[in-house]
């Protein structure tokens, strides 16, 4: 049954994106806003806006009862959760189900299963998806050396009962094991009363790679290629790109198959992302987790495949099947997204909300801006600091990087401090152009170099 009216319960750029996608499909929109978001872009675009609570998220965007009550009272037949807030809470999905509201996302039980790290890993294992290789309990140095050979060095040796690093060490060869195993086991015995150890591969040099998937609930699953999100600061993605140009084709095929098999085993419904660690030295991938929602970085996948994933969310939720075959979703281009935040990159990324006095985004070939901001918009201090996503597309990664540099150079934001200088610094760094980086690059290489420019 096609959706006729949706309650958009998120804020910022994704709320505006959701409202626009709904309108393009002829779906009416009601935007739930806090007091602080009454003049937001999504509120301006939506057919109707409802103030659901004060600025504090706990009393507005995080109150599932308020959201579902609003959906029912405004005649909505569906609810779009966006990302963050309650988007991956089983409770909201279930409450929607109970009241006949279509939750635009996976089934409540899918969200619950994937939200539990152990369950998610068990599901992945059952679907034949590679996890970080490891051992059961290891009793002796000899067993440890033998296991080390099998796993390949470096390995991480941990106390089974452990935590906080006690009894843990990295071995780069059998000598390290011989030298440290007994000492570590003793340490664990002293600390936890249990000297049992276990071992897993240690991935020093990794990329964060994830696969965009879509299921229609029937067991049919399609993927929309992978994204490389290795440029992170404190586990927050800063740049995301598609495809992962650094990955060889054979491994990419395994990556896609793993992701599809995993979610197909759940008869997954709607959009999801399967995250992997890409072990560069060993050329292997290991499952991390599934994000059961649309993600911030979905636009790069849209740009390289030509599909509108938020519209697809509405269509799948409205009961349409996945009409395509995998070969109809070729990845033909390269796209890079970077997140523009109202924060001061020179002062430990202190948030800098305030009124935008000038807002001149770049435009041109391959330039897309997903943002809720405009000149004179007051960025409220109550929520996260992202004020826009600049997405650049081109035929090749090389051309894409060049375009990104130009686009960032043209971007003018005044009235508040942004991380634009950092984005420019990244985009023009030789490592970035050469695609020579891993998940630690931003913190270990780039940020020190960036800070040095200030001295």
């Amino acid at each position: 049954m096609p959706i006729s009216r949706v309650l958009s319960v998120n804020r910022g750029e994704i709320a505006a994106r959701v409202v626009r996608a709904a309108h393009a499909l002829g779906i009416e929109t009601v935007q739930a806003v806090s007091m602080a978001d009454r003049e937001s872009r999504a509120a301006q675009l939506a057919d109707r806006t409802v103030v659901i609570g004060p600025a504090a998220s706990r009393l507005s965007y995080l109150d599932a009862n308020l959201l579902v009550h609003t959906a029912l009272q405004t005649g909505c037949d569906a609810l779009h959760p966006g990302y963050g807030f309650l988007s991956e809470r089983e409770h909201l999905a279930r409450l929607c189900d109970e009241h006949g509201i279509i939750f635009i996302g996976p089934a409540a039980e899918t969200i619950a299963a994937l939200g539990d790290k152990l369950k998610a890993k068990a599901i992945a294992r059952a679907a034949g998806v590679p996890l970080v290789p490891g051992t059961e309990r290891i009793a002796t140095v000899n067993d440890a050396v033998k296991a080390g050979e099998e796993l390949g060095y470096p390995v991480l040796i941990k106390a089974s009962a452990g935590g906080g690093g006690r009894g843990m060490f990295i071995a780069r060869g059998p000598d390290d094991i011989v030298a440290s195993f007994d000492k570590a086991s003793n340490e664990a015995m002293e600390a936890f009363g249990d000297g049992t150890m276990y071992m897993e591969r240690y991935v020093e040099n990794a990329r964060h790679v994830e696969v965009q998937v879509f299921g229609d609930g029937s067991g049919k699953v399609l993927h929309f290629g992978e994204r490389d999100c290795s440029i992170q600061r404190r586990y927050q993605k800063v740049f995301e790109e598609a495809p992962c140009a650094a990955m060889p084709p054979a491994l990419r095929r395994q990556l896609h198959e793993s992701a599809v098999n995993l979610v197909a085993s759940l008869k997954y419904r709607n959009a999801g992302t399967v995250e992997f660690l890409y072990d560069i030295d060993r050329q292997a991938i290991y499952f991390i987790e599934v994000n059961a929602r649309i993600q911030v970085e979905h636009p790069v996948s849209e740009q390289v495949t030509g599909y509108d994933l938020v519209q697809l969310q509405f269509q799948i939720a409205g009961g349409e099947p996945l009409r395509w075959t995998q070969d109809q979703i070729p990845v033909t281009r390269h796209a890079i997204e970077c997140r523009l935040n109202a924060e001061d990159p020179y002062r430990n990324f202190k948030p800098s909300p305030g009124r935008i006095t000038r807002w001149v985004p770049p435009q041109g070939a391959g330039i897309r801006l997903d943002s809720h901001c405009y000149a004179d918009y007051l960025v409220p201090p109550f929520y996260d600091s992202m004020i826009g996503k600049l997405i650049v597309t081109a035929a090749s990664r090389e051309e894409c990087v060049r375009r990104l540099q130009v686009a960032l150079e043209k971007f003018v934001v005044e009235g508040l401090t942004t991380n634009l200088p950092l984005l420019k610094f990244i985009a023009t760094h030789p490592d970035f152009a050469a695609n020579q980086l891993n998940t630690r690059w931003l913190e270990q290489i780039l940020l020190p170099a960036f800070e040095a420019t200030q001295e």
């Binding site: 806006t49 409802v50 103030v51 004060p54 504090a56 507005s60 009862n65 308020l66 006095t357």
Partner: protein, 177 residues
């Protein structure tokens, strides 16, 4: 609850101030309290307060635990309300001078009586006390009675029985006494 009482400035207070400022026709607002300085301006080039002596308007801003009672500083402020097309059911009309709005403490469905068929909590013209229950707000079958929060005569009931009210919507107008 009186405005003369000294209390800490909260994030909610700042939010309310920004709100009032946005709805006003003032160019600048400057406030110092609790060692905190707030300067709001509609002039993008303004960086320092030009009117450091200007005080916060004489609005009795209180956030009672029961209901948000806002005495409008001037009719123009109350009248501007929100500019969104469908926002705040019934909150559009100005609040008469010397009268006070009881506002929705949360979004929900507004009921004038404790249950269907029962007598209404209040009627226009009625004298009410600070603890008088004036209506019921329901969210997903959870019914919460709302207390007046002030003494006075009911002058108007703005919200409609059985209809959804938004957060902070004007429910009832009271003439304090």
């Amino acid at each position: 609850m009186a405005s003369s009482e000294k209390r800490k400035v909260t994030a909610e207070d700042i939010e309310n101030l920004i709100e009032i400022f946005k709805q006003s026709s003032w160019d600048e607002m400057h406030l110092e309290a609790d060692g905190l300085e707030i300067f709001l301006s509609n002039d993008p080039t303004a960086t320092t307060p030009r009117t450091p002596a200007a005080a916060v308007p004489s609005a009795a801003m209180t956030n009672s635990a029961v209901a948000n009672v806002v005495v409008p500083a001037a009719a123009s402020v109350a009248a501007s309300s929100t500019t969104l097309s469908h926002a705040a059911g019934g909150a559009g009309a100005p609040i008469p001078d010397g009268q006070v709005a009881i506002r929705a403490p949360n979004l929900g469905t507004f009921y004038r009586a404790p249950k269907p068929g029962a007598p209404t909590y209040i009627e226009v013209g009625q004298q009410i006390e600070v603890t008088t229950e004036v209506c019921l707000i329901e969210v997903m079958k959870l019914f919460t009675p709302v207390q007046s929060g002030l003494r006075g005569i009911v002058r108007e009931i703005r919200a409609r029985d059985g209809q959804m009210v938004e957060f902070d919507a004007v429910l009832i107008i009271i003439e304090p006494n």
